[in-house]
């Protein structure tokens, strides 16, 4: 267990600035994420959402300001961090089972063959597979699984190391509704049980709206942080985008009207889902 020390934010950015040449992605970003908090990171393409992930992973240096993960500088391969990437079809011919993929999340960064810790490893992997309901397909080649099945394995792979921070980079992309709900539900359950902080990059807030504590909305160098009901308003988004935007709430869903296509949230097909909630 690498639980954050009491009172220490799981993730802390202060005065953070990221720029490429004279292009500023964001500046003066102050954000403390508490253990167990679920933060959605929203914004149009190119607003620096993925770059923020890279900063937290230690793959990208800030231009100014500081970043801390559990009170420490972000190092390469911070063991406290679990990472869930976008669903991308894995090579169907690759000789790896779901069980192996999850096992790599547990100790794939360690040198050696790991023969000593075999039993412990097997146990942890089995538990992680069970938690995401992937046990029955864990011995099939990953390349032959559906996108939703692969993404459940991704969740198990990220959670098996018992991270105190979970970074999710568009993990629901290209999943159908049932799997979107399953995957986000698994992430939510984990942060409630173990107190992991979750940073969830998405261009579509509706599938995770009921889970989100705060939103970080990035647009063109500007940003707002706050609970969804305060950030996802016509007034705030109009200010952020610098143009007239209407935020419409339909049956508990948020729809954004009056922006050009790349920042328009295509959530119309989620209407039925949200009725049940």
């Amino acid at each position: 267990m690498t639980q954050a020390v009491n009172g220490t934010p799981a993730v802390s950015l202060s005065g953070a600035r990221l720029s490429y040449g004279d292009r500023v992605l964001w500046d003066g970003l102050d954000l403390d994420v508490q253990p167990g908090e679920f933060i959605a990171v929203l914004g149009p393409n190119g607003s620096g959402k993925t770059s923020l992930m890279r900063v937290l992973l230690g793959q990208q240096k800030l231009s100014a300001g500081t970043v801390r993960i559990g009170g420490a500088a972000p190092g390469k391969g911070n063991r406290r961090i679990g990472y869930i990437p976008q669903q991308r079809a894995l090579d169907p011919t690759i000789a790896v089972r779901g069980r192996d993929l999850v096992g790599l999340g547990y100790d794939g960064h360690r040198w050696g063959l790991g023969i000593g810790g075999m039993r412990e490893r097997r146990q942890r992997v089995a538990t992680a597979l069970e938690a995401v309901g992937a046990t029955h397909y864990a011995d099939r080649p990953v390349g032959l699984l559906s996108g939703g099945e692969q993404q459940r394995l991704r969740v198990a792979q990220a959670l098996v190391g018992d991270p105190s921070v979970l970074l999710c980079d568009e993990p629901l992309l290209s999943l159908d509704l049932a799997h979107q709900r399953a995957v986000s539900g698994l992430i939510d359950a984990h942060r409630r049980e173990s107190g992991s902080a979750v940073l969830f990059v998405t261009h579509e807030i509706n599938p995770v709206l009921p889970l989100v504590d705060r939103v970080l909305y990035l647009v063109d160098g500007r940003f707002r942080i706050g609970p969804p009901e305060r950030v996802m308003t016509s007034e705030t988004l109009s200010e952020l985008y610098g143009t007239d935007i209407a935020v419409v709430r339909v049956r508990g869903q948020i729809h954004i009207v009056g922006t050009h296509s790349d920042l328009c949230e295509d959530g119309a097909h989620h209407t039925e889902e949200l009725v049940e909630r």
């Binding site: 992973l57 230690g58 793959q59 190092g75 390469k76 391969g77 911070n78 063991r79 961090i81 990472y83 990437p85 894995l90 090579d91 011919t93 690759i94 000789a95 790896v96 089972r97 192996d100 993929l101 790599l104 999340g105 100790d107 794939g108 960064h109 360690r110 040198w111 050696g112 063959l113 790991g114 011995d139 099939r140 080649p141 990953v142 991704r154 792979q157 970074l167």
Partner: protein, 281 residues
């Protein structure tokens, strides 16, 4: 070809010291190729291995021309090639074409140098199709030394290397030095390839480095089982190829490639049958 089934002759030849040496060389090589193979296959490096093998030929030809040891020349050529190819990103779309460009030029140089060489022509031919018999003690020692280093290194790097090979994005996020491992692995493959060039020749080195592993990956998805099967298949191909070639006196590589191809075919059929059975839908 009827000599193929002359078991008496085969038995007699098996007793000869130089044949036994050849078998040891083949066994070591099969082990090396078998353990590296599944990673080569999952990294999509088959063409890069072929490129490395051809450039080992160039290195060998240069050594021949300069009067140096051919084996060391091949080793140097393969490692330089592996470094160059290993530094290329395997994700980039022009990866294959860059290999093609580099290997064609290197091969051209090799042909020129072989033409310039005025010595015995069997030395030239040996680089292409291998020359497993007539390995002296020094080359056996070199091969074994290289094999120990490569296998030791592989054991030390295995988990991160597998992670980086099958899941580079998450591996990188978890702090695995993906790029550095690509270079180290390419050098390991280069060394193994160069040693293979001496045995089965640069034209056919793929039959040990890639075919057994590709066959194994057809029938299992477990990395451990794939490695064990790849070693088994490579051993059967390499050692079996030598034994079969003894009586008819044919080049070893002909039998090595035939056996490994046959194994691949069988595994391919097995995987097809299994897949239609598992998912009738």
């Amino acid at each position: 070809m009827d000599k193929l089934f002359d078991f008496e002759l085969t038995g007699q030849l098996l007793g000869l010291p130089f044949v036994l040496t050849a078998l040891v060389v083949a066994a070591v090589l099969g082990l090396l190729a078998g353990v590296l193979g599944p990673l080569i296959v999952s990294r999509n490096m088959a063409f890069s291995v072929h490129g490395t093998a051809e450039l080992a030929l160039t290195g060998g030809a240069a050594a021949l021309l300069l009067g140096w040891d051919i084996g060391n020349g091949a080793l140097a050529g393969a490692i330089v090639a592996a470094l160059v190819l290993g530094l290329l990103s395997r994700r980039s779309s022009d990866y294959d074409s860059v290999i093609g460009v580099v290997l064609a030029f290197g091969l051209g140089l090799g042909v020129l140098m072989l033409w310039l060489y005025k010595g015995r022509s069997s030395n030239k031919f040996g680089l292409l199709t291998g020359q497993i018999v007539g390995q002296d003690f020094a080359s056996v020692a070199l091969l074994s030394g290289c094999a120990i280093v490569v296998i030791g290194l592989l054991a030390a790097l295995y988990r991160p290397l597998l992670f980086a090979s099958v899941d580079p994005e998450v591996a990188k996020a978890r702090g695995v030095p993906v790029t550095a491992l690509a270079v180290v692995f390419a050098v390991m493959v280069g060394a193994a390839t160069a040693l293979g060039v001496r045995t089965v020749g640069s034209l056919l080195v793929l039959s040990l480095m890639v075919t057994p592993a590709a066959a194994a990956c057809r029938i299992t998805a477990s990395p451990l089982k794939a490695t064990l099967l790849a070693v088994l298949f490579a051993e059967v191909s390499a050692v079996g190829g030598i034994i079969l070639s003894l009586a008819p006196g044919t080049p070893v590589s002909a039998f090595v490639t035939a056996i490994s191809f046959l194994i691949y075919l069988i595994c391919w059929v097995v995987s097809r049958v299994r897949r239609t059975r598992v998912s009738p839908a």
